[in-house]
């Protein structure tokens, strides 16, 4: 039997200390030992029964219940005041059997994998690698859980690929304590697995595109995500380059993403005719305080996998320098008690003139990120065509109303079809600000909440459509924010959620974050067809 450890914690915090938040209980469910229950399916179903027991307990106490992963989100999205469930020991993983593929599936069975919620990206990378496969994309490092990634919409900078949730083809949710409350969701237009699979995990199958898309980026509020079916691809390598190029060229590429026609040429990354190849990944780093004529950019090119390339992770490390933002936060760590000095340093420093080239798998390039102390991250999504303007506005905000201790970056991600994906533009530029948490009184500068409010006001005032990363710092209570960002999709999401969940379970899986954003609203008359299979 799976067992649950109960900790009466009193208070809970995120990985980067964005709390603390008052919390009564933290549960941690441990799987039955393999030797006692050798079948993965049996252990999976046994864990589901244990989660249902905890859900029933919370329902009986009229309390909330929320699963969380690595606590890497910096907003209060993962927090619940009554019961929080730490998932990472629930990490079963398996391939798909021949008799589990749907007859109309357009997927290659060998590319499909089923992961229990608590698998972190690093262990998925490893498991897929051992099967000759790879995730299509990840975030900039590997510590998040798969359920946590999908629930907020984690992205890298894979401009033609999308975010983590865009590789998901099935979701197994536990939506209550009853026998009918284990469901498996798929798109009806692109089924992947059949009823044999669903019956093995004792799930009721619902094939419905709209429901699936709403549940994809669920903000932890469509129930307990127990397992996720992911489409992987053959493993590949990334050639990574970090270069300084003119600011104008960097921003023109951000706006057009027309790499093939640009004069941004990386030696060795051209076609037979000498034309530049289109990178898999493009990222720009910006120090908003320095009027530099050049920006540091990172470009990665996808290559077929081969063995024998030099290991991109060095043997001796004093600081994990894979990303300028991480470099910055590790330098900034030394200025923790003197934020004004850190800002003075920023105001006089250009970013290092790096010219770095390494090759590795996705798991090696987007490797571990260590703890860097209390940190914040703001990230807004804008249409890539608006990105130079949005950068100018937000850099001016930091200069004129700040300064704040942080660096800016731009990443580019293909559109997602998830109802509440913040990557909702044809190509979304995620404009990010990362840095150390400061004390506005002591350091005599604008506070983080004020700065977050001003981001929204400035973008609205300049008519730039935008979204905000669900897992990052923002003024989540800003009036009308969600409707402004998502329009009718916000209503559609609430209706799908209300159709799938009973009113009491909708309340159970809600939290303060959902209330702040207005997404906790239960639509009593939501059409039940929204949660039924479309045949």
């Amino acid at each position: 039997m799976a067992t649950t450890v109960k900790h009466e914690i009193g208070s809970w915090d995120t990985f980067h200390n964005n709390g603390p938040f008052p919390t009564k209980v933290l549960y941690e469910t441990l799987l039955e030992a393999k030797g006692n229950m050798p079948s993965i399916t049996d252990r999976y179903n046994d864990a589901a029964a244990e989660i249902q027991r905890l859900i029933q307990l919370a329902l009986s106490n009229r309390e909330g219940f929320r699963a969380y992963g690595s606590a890497w989100s910096m907003s209060h999205i993962a927090h619940q005041k009554d019961n929080m469930h730490f998932n990472t020991a629930m990490n079963l993983k398996r391939t798909i059997d021949v008799d589990e593929l749907h007859p109309n599936a357009t997927y290659v069975r060998e590319n499909l994998f089923f992961f229990e919620c608590g698998n972190i990206i690093k262990e998925i990378n490893q498991f897929l690698f051992d099967n000759g496969k790879s995730l299509k994309t990840t975030g900039a490092s590997n510590g998040q859980t798969i359920a946590g990634c999908v629930s907020t919409g984690v992205h890298g900078s894979a401009l033609d690929v999308g975010s983590v949730q865009d590789s998901v083809v099935g979701i197994n949710l536990i939506i209550g304590a009853g026998i009918d409350d284990i469901v498996y969701l798929e798109r009806h237009t692109r089924p992947a697995l059949n009823d044999v699979f669903a019956s093995r995990i004792k799930a009721r199958i619902i094939r419905n595109d709209d429901l699936f898309k709403a549940a994809l980026v669920s903000l932890g509020s469509f129930g307990f995500i127990h397992g996720i079916t992911v489409e992987a691809e053959n493993r590949f390598l990334l050639n990574r380059y970090v270069k300084r190029i003119s600011k104008d060229k960097a921003l023109q590429l951000a706006q057009t993403l027309a790499f093939e026609d640009a004069d941004f040429v990386v030696e060795g990354e051209t076609d037979a005719g000498g034309k530049p190849l289109r990178p898999y990944h493009y990222k720009i780093f910006i120090n908003p305080y320095v009027n530099d004529t050049e920006y540091v950019v990172e470009a990665m090119y996808k290559k077929p996998y081969r063995s024998g390339y030099p290991d991109p992770v060095p043997r001796i490390k004093t600081a994990i320098y894979r990303d300028l933002i991480l470099l910055f936060t590790s330098i900034a760590e030394r200025f923790r008690n003197s934020i004004p000095s850190l800002i003075r340093l920023l105001q006089t420093s250009v970013l290092p003139p790096v010219d770095l080239q390494v090759t590795g798998t996705i798991g090696e390039i987007f490797w571990d990120a260590g703890y860097q102390g209390p940190a914040y991250a703001c990230a807004v999504g804008v249409d890539s065509r608006d990105s130079p303007k949005a950068l100018e506005l937000l850099a001016n905000l930091a200069k004129n109303e700040g300064p704040i201790p942080g660096l800016y970056a731009m990443r580019f991600v293909r559109q997602s079809d998830a109802t509440l994906a913040f990557t909702r533009f044809p190509v979304t530029c995620m404009l990010e600000i990362d840095g150390l948490i400061w004390n506005p009184q002591r350091d005599n500068i604008i506070s983080l909440p004020q700065f977050c409010t001003r981001i929204i006001e400035v973008l609205q005032a300049n008519n730039i459509p935008f979204t905000i990363h669900w897992g990052k710092n923002a003024d989540w209570s800003f009036p009308g924010l969600i409707e402004h960002m998502y329009g009718a999709n916000a209503q559609q999401w609430k209706e799908c959620r209300s159709a799938l969940l009973k009113e009491e379970t909708a309340a159970l899986f809600s939290n303060r974050f959902l209330q702040d954003t207005g997404l906790s609203e239960y639509i009593v008359n939501a059409p039940l067809a929204l949660a039924a299979s479309v045949v």
């Binding site: 900790h7 914690i9 915090d13 990985f15 933290l26 941690e28 393999k34 993965i40 690595s70 606590a71 730490f86 990472t88 020991a89 990490n91 079963l92 993983k93 398996r94 972190i120 690093k122 262990e123 490893q126 290991d311 992770v313 260590g370 703890y371 102390g373």
Partner: protein, 120 residues
């Protein structure tokens, strides 16, 4: 009669010696070995503000006494997953000194390790 300079020396000496000794005894360094592909066993209650945050840490802080015929020893630890994620040992001047003055019979052990997360 002692000259003032000599009596001064007597006053300063023990003070300097104490400072030096305490500096040396506390002086130490540590070496951390980690597994590139390993996944650490998580601990949601570990809120330490360093590398170990969120990881389940095992600490060995002891002095091993060897019998005259024993030259080496093994510490046999148990990780349910069967592997180590990271391993950090600390060398202190005090530990080295203890080893020297006991002719190698007492070995100070200061180790922190993290197991691999269990997986199928």
């Amino acid at each position: 009669m002692e000259s003032p300079a000599i009596s001064n020396k007597k006053v300063i000496h023990p003070f300097v010696v104490t400072i030096l000794l305490s500096l040396l005894l506390s002086s130490c360094y540590s070496v951390r070995l980690m597994n590139k592909n390993g996944i650490p066993e998580p601990d949601p209650l570990n809120t330490s503000e360093d590398f170990y945050r969120g990881k389940r840490v095992h600490v060995l802080d002891t002095v091993i006494t060897l019998k005259p015929v024993e030259g080496e020893f093994y510490l046999i630890e148990r990780c349910a997953s069967g592997g180590f994620y990271s391993f950090e040992y600390k060398v202190t001047f005090g530990g080295v000194l203890l080893n020297v003055i006991t002719f190698g019979k007492k070995r100070q052990v200061k180790i922190k390790y993290v197991c691999l997360k269990q997986s199928d």
